[in-house]
């Protein structure tokens, strides 16, 4: 799993402008890619580490977010780099000893807020190569932020609650999306052209699938993972 994650990270880092996209942009209307990611074997549900030293039954964890995947273009159209975006913000909440959402996809330069909505302390941290940080312990109602400057996969944990974990996928282009819990997705505003598309779930990624986005049209593309 770690090897795959590293490979995906490498792909993200190396995501390069795609010449076809730029050529098509000047005279064409952008299209879309949509489809479904089927998870043949759902990722391990977020069971807590069993510790016999706990004195009580821990509350159950919500596994719904583990059904969501990220679908993204392996190489971005050059137009992606012409886009000017205002300051980007995203939020990863800490609620009921869970990161919400469990999976976040953002572009480089995005600042992610980590509010604590529990009545107990949390301590968000990551040792990932793409972004290493430790926000320390802070109470409910407080929030701390991290700006992600480099593309890659960032695994986020809580230093106090070992069962809390999340993924942040940082892209250097905007052509990605997070599926719903049924696996459905749609990437809009894609310049016409040919691309490779990848689906990713909990550290596993699909092989790149080629797709051609027609002028102003929508292309269907499904994935099966695991």
């Amino acid at each position: 799993m770690r090897t795959l994650a590293c490979a995906v990270a490498l792909v993200l880092v190396l995501a390069a402008p795609h010449p076809a996209g730029r050529a098509a942009l000047s005279a064409a209307t952008n299209g879309a890619i949509r489809g479904r990611v089927e998870l043949r074997h759902v990722a391990t549900s977020p069971e807590r580490r069993p510790t016999v030293s706990d004195l009580a039954t821990p509350p159950p964890l919500d596994a719904t977010d583990y059904l969501k995947s990220v679908v993204y273009l392996e190489t971005a159209p050059r137009s992606a780099f012409d886009m000017t975006e205002s300051t980007r913000h995203a939020v990863m909440d800490q609620r009921n000893e869970t990161f919400v959402p469990h999976l976040l996809a953002i572009t480089t330069g995005t600042t992610v807020d980590f509010p604590n909505s529990d009545h107990i302390y949390h301590n968000v941290f990551s040792l990932s190569k793409a972004k290493s940080f430790d926000l320390g312990r802070y109470e409910a109602g407080k929030s701390r932020a991290v700006t992600f400057e480099r593309p890659g996969i960032v695994r986020v944990f809580c230093d106090i609650h070992s069962h809390m974990n999340a993924f942040i996928l940082v892209f250097n282009h905007p052509f990605f999306t997070v599926t719903d819990t049924e696996g459905r997705y749609r990437i809009d505003n894609v310049p016409p052209g040919s691309y490779n598309v990848i689906a990713w779930n909990e550290g596993l990624s699909s092989d790149p699938k080629p797709v051609t986005v027609p002028d102003g049209g929508t292309t269907e593309l499904d994935f099966a993972l695991r």
Binding site: R49, T51, L55, P60, D134, R137
Partner: protein, 423 residues
């Protein structure tokens, strides 16, 4: 000579085990290692693990390596006769088998220095009302008393050594009794191999104030609210001598409550009382009082405060053992021991922290023939060190520990390293 051979044997084992853990931790192999608990049977079975390899520079009966590493002949870190907490390869496998949310079996199997695995904890957890935070645990249950005993795992311990109250061996034993105060005073500072004339007369390790290395067997109740929690238990052994099977017909009662008045602050208080002298030793003492009269009674208070990158903990424990008065000069007052420990951690950067602990263990006095002294030798331990997370679940810790004792073998300096892997 035999002891030396045992140490060398353990040293080889520990180094081999450490090499194994290090090999497993290398990037090529790490992909094969679990980083999350193993879940099977549709979530009914969850298995986690905790592996630690601890090495220290000092070994018993060997010349000092350097000023910072004196020979380990003071047995300050011994958890029993064979094992030093600073030279230990430990593997814990923990399983949770749950039928419903109301019923679960939790088990932990532990192997130390590649020895035969044994159940460290094994109990049934019952949650009668799903809407309430109330649990009943039956079997070999987690310690009720104190704050440290439930976080003694290498992955939870800020440093490598243990707090004195939870590990340091006093001269007292449940199965052997001092006939008089003189005999007790002769064993000052010799808890690693204590010997008395009543009961079991073979030299054996004494007891700590509280054992963090063995769990007691019985029934435990726990309830919690957002502002704190409360636990109580009835068990076969005592804090110092947890048991699977009762050896004196008496039960220990223990209770603990914690308050969380503001985020980051936890205040705890504990109390326990139970008979500790074995039936055999009690009979050998030949006193009229029933065995249930000879108790270990302990009270404790602890506090933890954390904020940002700081964590500070303090814990104070007072324990008193009542032993039979067998012969003059009599031990006519409870033998008290008091412990106070303060530890702290500061996170320097992601994955890297520094920590320190100061620890004192003191003892009440007894009067022997022409001599009044503490019944065991007071000990001070200072430990500084830190940890670096190679990856989230693989950590390297290093520490330097200074021990001093007012009696017996009086000083010891030890440097230690520990590799911890957990999933």
């Amino acid at each position: 000579m035999i002891v030396h051979s045992v140490y060398n044997f353990l040293k080889v084992k520990v180094l081999a085990a450490a090499a194994l853990v290090a090999a497993l931790a290398c990037p090529a192999a790490a992909g094969q290692l679990p980083s999350e608990p193993i879940v099977a049977a549709g979530g009914r079975l969850t298995v986690s693990g905790d592996v630690s390899a601890t090495m220290s520079c000092a070994h018993a009966n060997t010349p000092p390596n350097a000023a910072a590493c004196t020979p380990d002949t003071g047995f300050f870190n011994y958890t029993d006769y064979k094992y030093s907490a600073l030279r230990l390869f430990r593997v814990d496998l923990i399983a949770n088998v749950k039928d419903t949310r109301r019923l679960a079996v939790l088990a932990e199997v532990r192997s130390e220095n590649a020895g035969t695995p044994s159940p460290y904890g094994l109990y049934l957890r019952i949650k009668p009302w799903l809407a309430h935070d109330f649990d009943i645990q039956v079997g070999r249950v987690p310690p009720t008393f104190g704050a440290f005993a439930r976080r003694s795992y290498a992955s939870d311990n800020l440093l490598i050594g243990y707090p004195l109250a939870y590990q340091y061996l006093t001269s007292l034993r449940p199965d052997a009794l001092p006939a008089n105060a003189d005999e007790l005073l002769r064993m000052r500072g010799r808890g690693w191999q204590s010997q008395f004339s009543v009961g079991n007369t073979v030299a054996e390790p004494g007891m700590p104030l509280i054992s963090a290395l063995h769990w007691d067997t019985g029934v435990q109740l726990h309830t919690a609210a957002s502002w704190g929690d409360f636990a109580a238990s009835i068990t076969n052994g005592t804090l110092a001598n947890p048991l699977v099977s009762d050896d004196n017909g008496g039960k220990q009662v223990a209770a603990r409550g914690t308050l969380r008045p503001v985020p980051g602050l936890i205040i705890g208080a504990s109390a326990a009382r139970g008979p500790f002298v074995t039936t055999h030793a009690g009979e050998a003492a030949g006193v009229a009082a029933p065995n249930s009269h000879f108790t270990q009674t302990a009270v404790g208070a602890d506090v933890e405060y954390s904020r940002g990158y700081y964590l500070v903990r303090a814990e104070a424990i007072l324990s008193a053992w009542r032993v039979p008065e067998i012969a003059a000069p009599y031990i006519d007052a409870p033998l008290r021991a008091d412990s106070i420990m303060v530890e702290g951690r500061y996170k320097i950067r992601p994955g890297l922290y520094a920590a320190a602990r100061v620890d004192h263990l003191g003892f009440s006095t007894v009067t022997g023939t022409g001599r009044t002294d503490s019944w065991d030798a007071p000990v001070i331990r200072e430990e500084v060190g830190g940890g670096y997370s190679i990856q989230r679940n693989l950590q390297l810790k290093m520490s330097y520990q200074h021990n001093s004792r007012a009696g017996g073998r009086t000083k010891e300096n030890v440097s230690a390293a520990q590799l911890v892997f957990w999933f």
